[in-house]
Symmetry: C2
Subunit: 200 residues, 2 copies
């Protein structure tokens, strides 16, 4: 880890929790720089603009998830439908631990940013959409496997996957509005009752 990459990653590390716990517009470059112990000129050496910083932050969050809870949840060794339970549980425990540390439920950074910036920045919207799209694929593959195994009745796996993702985001939104991760615990399991029939 040379000095350059260290500075860059210190900036990202300072920005991550701030964008997550507040909002894109509410966090300034100056604050990030102070927290990272970096001068503003240095910041703009690594990031052409605030927009580019948040892109990098999104990438880091996405990687973190993809290699953490998501990889655990969508473990092929697990029975398909249990993977979905696992993912919902992971969301619950993650939000719960954040609340214990931070005092507040912060919700899903992708959902947060989507609602805040997607009318103002199509590049950001596309990036967030791609993340949702990948998540949907994981759900779809899981559902297809479950159908193939006879665990669940045939359904429109693509639409049902999208519905499940929507539900998960909605549950996290409601939980955030109550500042209470237990909402995820109560409502989460109903995700498996969602179903879109295959068109005839």
């Amino acid at each position: 880890m040379n000095a350059a990459t260290d500075t860059r990653s210190r900036i990202i590390a300072a920005a991550k929790p701030r964008f997550h716990s507040r909002s894109y517009a509410n966090v300034g470059i100056q604050e990030i720089c102070e927290s990272a112990g970096v001068q503003k000129g240095s910041f703009y050496h690594f990031f052409p603009s605030k927009h580019d910083l948040v892109m990098a932050v999104i990438d880091e969050f996405a990687d973190e998830w993809a290699h953490g809870f998501v990889a655990e949840a969508f473990d092929p060794a697990l029975p398909p439908m249990e993977r979905i339970d696992y993912l919902v549980d992971a969301a619950y425990f993650w939000q719960k631990s954040i609340k214990q540390i931070h005092g507040r439920m912060l919700g899903c950074i992708f959902g947060n940013l989507t609602l805040e910036v997607s009318t103002q920045d199509d590049i950001l919207r596309a990036k967030l959409l791609a993340i949702f799209s990948r998540a949907k694929t994981r759900f779809r593959e899981t559902l297809e496997e479950a159908v193939a195994a006879g665990t669940i009745a045939p359904l429109d796996s693509d639409l049902t996957a999208e519905a499940m993702l929507a539900y998960l985001e909605g549950v996290i939104l409601l939980a955030k509005s109550q500042n209470d991760p237990e909402v995820i615990y109560r409502l989460g399991p109903a995700i498996k009752t969602l179903r879109v029939e295959t068109a005839v």
Copy 2:
């Protein structure tokens, strides 16, 4: 409508579409004043702070919904489960017409604001929560009526109502991420497949 209330409502009228289409932090008092043809000093005569303005804006949106689509959808003359269809349809058509006019899907102002500000302003969060809470009650009463009529099997009406609200918000979020109201059309109807069993 005397001059005073006219100024006040012009401010709110200018603020509404801006908070809806962008975000709380991204819309400034100055811009609102210019658009409303009002001086800043006048603004602060009616609203002690930006926070108070957005509270009033939320109230207006809530009233608009309560007396518009929501009143139509939860019409006691309609069979219970059709009311839920109606509400989802209303959300779809509303977002669609916004997109036709504005070029973008703006989503649900309550969901948008919840994710943006609820970690930073507990009063705003409480207000938004109260709106969600009222919506949930409408869903719950509808479900209870459907159960009483034998239209659907018994279930935990409170939790299922909350799940349906979460799903609706999630669907609108995903639709916004795709800037495409058709997502609501495709995913919306699956709301009726959601169900939380009553605890034994």
